[in-house]
Symmetry: C2
Subunit: 160 residues, 2 copies
């Protein structure tokens, strides 16, 4: 898969966040901001997670680029995981909206972004990849971060 | 669903693009830029489609906000449609990457964005919602637009 260390896929080399659940075919992680990642050896920080703490990924373990590379059964398994994460976030956090995306332009290894969005967040209603509409509200973000351990625990306990 | 005309959901009021396939539960449209929409009565133009012509949507017909509001069978049907559109785009256009997303922050009526991305496009490898990295290359876009009728025809002929 690689002609040199600079070409190693980061989702083959690393978990892609704080590992919550690993199965044979897929894993679920919470994406960590720099302060969070500094506490966890081996976790790569992601700048988006600082403004969007309720940011999870469902990552297909095999190095597959596109959604339609999966069989229908594999897609079903993967979507059960995405839906289960979404349900945990809805139940625990009552977000304004859930955002789902499989992009992979930079890292073409199939992974679903599952983000809880709030009408007070720095970008709402724009996508998280757009320009910010306002500064991230520190108190709200702090309160949201306090609720992540319950989300993490519920995700780690999922039976898919 | 509405207390006044300004609150009518645009995906309840309009097809959401150039209608290619309609089934009981969902429909598939190509998102139209302003010049394209001007030729088609009732089609609402979308600025993104001008820089990203190979931009399709799978729209759930019922006014449902979140992916996990669908049953597993409904999700399966919806993902068969998303995968089928993706396969058409891969086969017809050989894109650098397919991007899939269900956001709905502005229009909370379940719809999947299915976009073909190219390493020459104005934003690659950033998401289409991010800032542009370069001007849209007019000749490449023109050549891509010439290939859309074949995509549209293949999508209209899908049996899901």
């Amino acid at each position: 898969m690689s002609a040199g260390p600079e070409l190693i896929c980061p989702l083959c080399a690393h978990e892609g966040g704080v590992l919550l659940l690993r199965q044979h075919k897929l894993r679920i992680v919470r994406v960590a901001g720099a302060p969070d990642a500094a506490l966890q050896p081996g976790v790569q920080p992601d700048a988006l997670a600082e403004a969007f703490p309720a940011y999870y990924r469902v990552i297909w373990n095999a190095h597959v680029a596109e959604w339609s590379d999966l069989s229908e059964a594999e897609q079903g398994l993967c979507m059960r995981a995405v839906s289960a994460v979404e349900r945990v976030l809805r139940h625990q956090l009552q977000p304004s909206k859930i955002n789902l995306a499989a992009l992979g332009n930079v890292v073409p290894h199939l992974h679903w972004h599952v983000l809880a969005r709030f009408d007070w967040d720095s970008h709402f209603p724009a996508p998280v990849w757009a320009a910010a509409a306002r500064p991230p509200p520190a108190e709200r973000l702090h309160a949201l971060r306090q609720r992540l351990p319950a989300c993490d625990a519920a995700i780690a306990a999922l039976r898919l």
